[in-house]
Symmetry: C2
Subunit: 408 residues, 2 copies
């Protein structure tokens, strides 16, 4: 009943290397602005015109060509934002003007209305006013043709507003990979149901949806639950959304037990499976498969393994598909000792990020972690750090290789 | 034409105090789990049962009551996850067992299948095995009735999975305030249109939508554009979605110019307007109004003022409506000197957050800021810091009161 041919255990770094080699960026797409939030720009955006496009009043007040000292001007008209002054101005003429309105001729200044002394059609100015005062000059913010946003810019609220301001209403953006996700196992019941003996509620489905939606707004994700019947599961894998998804995720069924069918049905569906087991915990039974441009992951079903493997591998594959680089880990200090952590495999340990009071540097505080089923232990997790194989204990202050999680 | 009765300028801290006093939390609501991501929990969630609910196998292997040393067991059946072993076990019996399956009687252990030597119906164990080995004991992760998630917990992916695991599929969560937003001004055209003379594209609409959606997923926001016609605008304000929105936002039209109607139509609609002007820049013309439980904001239309006033005031009101506390500012060091920043009003300056190489503490780097129309200067803004009134220059290292932005 045990495996006859042992399956090689692949190092985590080798899985990463394989993903870097094999996962190609999907083609970018054009999206309406309102749907582009959270995407990355796949083109350079230039100013389509000078910003502001004309000399604009920065205040409500009166516009005129300044004299060299105190002077009186004849108020000959009004111009508000969106209007164009139609009258030709003579020297000594002034216009009532409002914030944002275009100044009709060069060399003008605007006197704030709070400073203005007005008598009928006459404006009295009792101080020297400089040309350009309270005027936002044409092109002073940005010149036509200048790069406004570089390619790979993340599209947050400000970037979207900038795109709107230059009329880039259908920007070319990195794609949101289409993900098809199946949870598996006869023992898994809907969260709405009271589990019978031996049953547990499906928490991986809501976890994956929330992780993907947090990563990519308006994510294209479809989810199903498959029982322990490999024939039925194989049929689902051959049908949509699995047949053409960019990423196929199967939660559970990834180990080599008799009831774990993920590898078998993926292989029969034409996936090449260079990875079936990894040399790390939690999550040793991890499947990574490729079929054309499609990627499949078989994730261990235990909640902690599932969470860790998602962040260690699926997150990276999604970044590569979106045209981004894989996130690198960085060496941070451990804030408290980790005892009794020995395992023959490297361990990826959930942790919080805090500021070290002594060094003032970001550092990691290990979360309490009972076992790979202990979902509550993941509350507050912001990072995973690596405990090298056969490490009995890590003293406080040890440098540990740390991967930030939940970051786009 | 200038204002006859001067409108008092309110200090920013007084606006905050007023919001704290006047804005009451909206009642919580029950939502399906998939819609609750990004909300705050408005109730305490307890474990509905022991986790795990039964002694579970942590491995694929063989389960038995251990002997005191090497021994041979009779394999009398198989139990996989979701099944219950029906057979009564005799001493010396073993069960083929799979990860997650329930152990039928207390005191059992599981031997990993990789270690098992099996001959037909017989399992040979050649080492001492401890009771509980590879077993996740009932209640070892969490006890029935223990608090799993405290009230006010933010619902991220892990928290949602925890709720699913205990069957809390309709959690009571903080509400998403209903926001009705109008941009205003005849000079404002759709981003899809090439602006004519004196016109500019509407960037505030997409900004507000992205800010609100980033703050609260599945936000209830409705947006319109109003021209410079106060009669038409008043009619829209009296109609839905504005008539009953929790928050009414009007972008532009907040100053006291002849064409700025926001204050007039709000007052006529029955709003009390304790704030019409604030003593800060950018964004001096700020309106805050109250009508029953409704809050209205008139935001200055210039992009930078608009962005700053949203974060200084609207964001806080939304937190209070959602049942959270207002975010406090904190004193951080300035990473580079700020020159020529003198103004008779306190200035809220956009900045990035960086780690100070010397102190290793988070610190602020001012963004270049030409004027309140300079939207491109806000790219990368993560904080606003306060430059006190009449400050000519701030040397590097100055402590400045800093408000983090874009945080829930």
């Amino acid at each position: 009943m045990a495996e006859s041919t042992p399956i090689p255990e692949i190092e985590v770094a080798d899985v990463w290397r394989l993903l870097d080699e094999r996962v190609l960026a999907l083609g970018p797409e054009r999206l309406p602005l309102a749907q582009a939030v959270g995407r990355y720009l796949a083109e350079e955006i230039k100013n389509d015109a000078n910003q502001p496009p004309f000399d604009r009043s920065a205040m409500d007040g009166y516009a005129f060509i300044p004299a060299s000292g105190p002077a009186t001007f004849h108020i000959v008209g009004t111009v508000k934002a969106g209007e164009v002054a139609v009258r030709t101005l003579q020297p000594g003429d002034a216009l009532r003007i409002f914030t944002g309105a275009a100044l009709p001729i060069p060399g003008m200044a605007v006197l704030m209305q709070e400073e203005a002394r007005v008598e009928g059609e006459w404006l009295h100015v009792n101080r020297r006013v400089e040309p350009g005062e309270n005027v936002r000059a044409q092109g002073s913010d940005a010149r036509q043709g200048e790069v406004l946003l570089a390619a790979k810019s993340f599209l947050g609220p400000v970037e979207l507003a900038l795109l709107a301001s230059v009329g880039a209403v259908q920007p070319l953006v990195g794609p949101a990979p289409r993900v098809a996700h199946a949870t598996t196992g006869d023992e898994i019941v809907s969260p709405a149901v009271t589990p019978g003996p031996g049953q547990i509620r499906n928490s991986n489905q809501v976890l994956i949806r929330a992780l993907l939606e947090g990563l990519m707004p308006a994510t294209n994700i479809q989810q199903e639950h498959w029982g322990d019947d490999p024939v039925g599961a194989a049929a689902r894998l051959a049908a949509e959304p699995f047949a053409s998804a960019d990423v196929v995720l199967i939660s559970g069924g990834a180990s080599v037990g008799d009831h774990d069918y993920a590898a078998r049905i993926l292989e029969r569906a034409g996936y090449e499976l260079p990875i079936r087991k990894i040399n790390s915990r939690p999550g040793r039974p991890l499947i990574v498969g490729f079929r054309g441009k499609q990627i499949a992951f078989g994730l261990p079903g235990n909640p902690v393994s599932h969470f860790v493997c998602y962040h260690l591998f699926v997150h990276h594959a999604l970044r590569l598909l979106r045209g981004l680089k894989r996130t690198n880990s960085q060496p941070l200090a451990l804030l408290e000792p980790l005892r009794d952590c020995a395992d023959r495999r490297p361990t990826y340990w959930p942790a919080k990020l805090e500021l070290d009071a002594a060094t003032r540097l970001p550092a990691v505080r290990p979360l309490q972690w009972n076992n790979s089923g202990h979902l509550a232990g993941l509350v507050g997790a912001q990072a995973l750090f690596c405990v090298p194989a056969n490490t009995k204990e890590l003293p406080a202050g040890s440098r540990v290789d740390t991967l930030f999680i939940y970051r786009g």
